[in-house]
Symmetry: C2
Subunit: 123 residues, 2 copies
């Protein structure tokens, strides 16, 4: 039922962890299943480029796979470019997700936006 890319990112998630003294941190919860997701960004204050991005979640395989892919996709981008990495783009990069799992994939997008917002508020 899951694409090879989803299974790859689920079983070998990229960028799991925390960033100490991160420039921005975003924490979101999923009302539907009660899971939480936290994303840490390290942003260059001059260029606004995302130098590092890590995530932690208690969520399911779909949440892990989309976060893993989303963190790879925003890395090296500017804040403005990262804001345009949509949930839809992440799901496409993973060759799709079953409809029942789409709500899990929203966690990553929401957490990245929350972390960018957190950075913006501090600057």
């Amino acid at each position: 039922a899951y694409s090879e890319k989803v299974m790859d990112h689920f079983q070998h998630p990229r960028n799991v962890g925390e960033i100490e003294n991160a420039s921005g941190v975003g924490t979101v919860g999923n009302a539907k299943c009660g899971d939480i997701m936290r994303i840490f960004l390290d942003i260059d204050d001059e260029t606004h480029i995302i130098k590092d991005c890590k995530f932690k979640t208690f969520g399911c395989g779909a949440a892990v796979a989309t976060s893993s892919m989303a963190t790879e996709m925003v890395m090296g981008k500017t804040i403005e470019e990262a804001m345009e990495v949509t949930n839809k783009a992440v799901m496409e990069a993973l060759d799709g997700l079953p409809p029942v799992k789409v709500h899990c994939s929203l966690l990553a997008e929401e957490a990245i936006h929350a972390a960018l917002w957190d950075y913006a508020q501090k600057h």
Copy 2:
């Protein structure tokens, strides 16, 4: 929000994997979140003792932690004893779970029962 034992079993899950030619296999789905769980049992045909038990899931951290604990709890038990390892007992062994995550913990109990049933049907 999560107990130390839950976090330990989530971050270092025991008995993850598959058993080739397992005596019994149980696969269950969680209607509430769409996650799935599969449990493999290796049962001694003479003594009815569970010699090995492994699980695979796409479920969340609570599903991983309860399955990890549940597989440890049924290992070495007879079929009859294993049938009595309830979801409640597993949650107690983990020092509890938040109410919103109780449905996740049911996956392990249901999958073990399904695997025992699978074994019984073959014998």
